[in-house]
Symmetry: C2
DNA sequence: CCTTGACGTGTTACAGTATAACATACATAA
DNA sequence: TTATGTATGTTATACTGTAACACGTCAAGG
């Protein structure tokens, strides 16, 4: 989904940075980053008939405020402050919707949720979680998934869903604390 | 660690089945399977100085009763029935020890724990979880881990620990419920 | 011998995560 | 209109995990 962007270099016809895997770990124009993902999610929802209601959209906005994963109860606090319900199911249901639609991912290692940074694109989510700054990036996972599929196929196992998560240090935090 | 096994074919000098990844999904001599792993764990503990105390050993035995993952509270119930403490920390501490020693793995998708089926061998654990029969197998993961390392290295991320889990249908359950 | 310190176990109490079940509201369709 | 499906809100409860302290054992060092 091409879009205008003031910072584009001459001859650059799209904001390539928006889909870069390491963007989460680098300083970048995150307002643009988040707005772009939100717009794409809205388009996808409209196209598929999925109802991105106020609560659900608000939850996605909240997740998109940073590249960190948020616990359901943190999301809930924000929702309550915005006048929505303040009971756990309110947050969990909205999060479940977003996950089902592919607009968010569940990071099981953290008992938390993160906005999907490239909704619509089919991707076997693979997460790199920085233990120092808590940022979460979706890494390019095609080769990982292929290797996993091969291992499964070798023994006749049919994979339906995967959770691939790696904990470590992002490029920025590595240099600070070796 | 070679060992005697009555079922070995002539010319077979070790129980190769014990390390086969799909063993968890196939009918097999599980008593032998579990006893073998337990013996290996005991040897490793003795060699490293790690203290495989009664509670810890009992927890490993409990995990080894099947190829399924068990929740900490299920383990705890069993411990209590055996006369050990019946408070959560008793189970969690023993499980933590086993995980630290590489005698068990934590399956985050299930909030549960499973015995490691090849302790001592360095392995980046990758789990195949059957959603029908709940069996959990550790798959050969070297290629998966290599692909993940490559993806991480490409953006300068230093991986420390990984959780790679796949949910699906095992060979046996596939044929029953397509 | 006795002390000291490390470690393992047991307990209380609590924190954090998640869901079941029911009530209400609103949309759309028959 | 009435019915039906879906979304939201609420109560209550279940499930998962940890902090902190008390007690016992054992080995090292006085
Ligand atoms: Zn961003
Ligand atoms: Zn970082
Ligand atoms: Zn077995
Ligand atoms: Zn199965």
């Amino acid at each position: 989904m091409p879009h205008d962007h003031a910072d584009l270099h001459p001859g650059q016809d799209d904001c390539l940075g928006c889909t870069s895997p390491d963007l989460a770990f680098a300083r970048h124009d995150h307002d643009h980053c988040a707005a772009d993902v939100l717009a794409r999610a809205e388009q996808l929802a409209a196209a598929s008939g999925a109802r991105l209601t106020p609560v659900r959209k608000r939850v996605l906005e909240i997740l998109l405020e940073s590249h960190k994963a948020m616990g359901a109860y943190d999301v809930l606090q924000r929702l309550a402050a915005d006048g929505f319900g303040n009971q756990p199911p309110v947050a969990y249901r909205a999060l479940e919707f977003l996950v089902d639609q592919g607009f968010a991912h569940r990071i099981r290692r953290l008992n938390a949720f993160a906005a999907c940074m490239h909704p619509g694109e089919t991707h076997a989510p693979t997460f790199l979680i920085c233990k120092a700054c808590d940022a979460v990036a979706e890494a390019p996972a095609a080769p990982v998934r292929a290797a996993l599929d091969a291992a499964a196929q070798a023994i006749g196992f049919a994979i339906e869903r995967t959770n691939i998560e790696a904990l470590g240090l992002c490029p920025a935090c590595r240099t600070v604390a070796p």
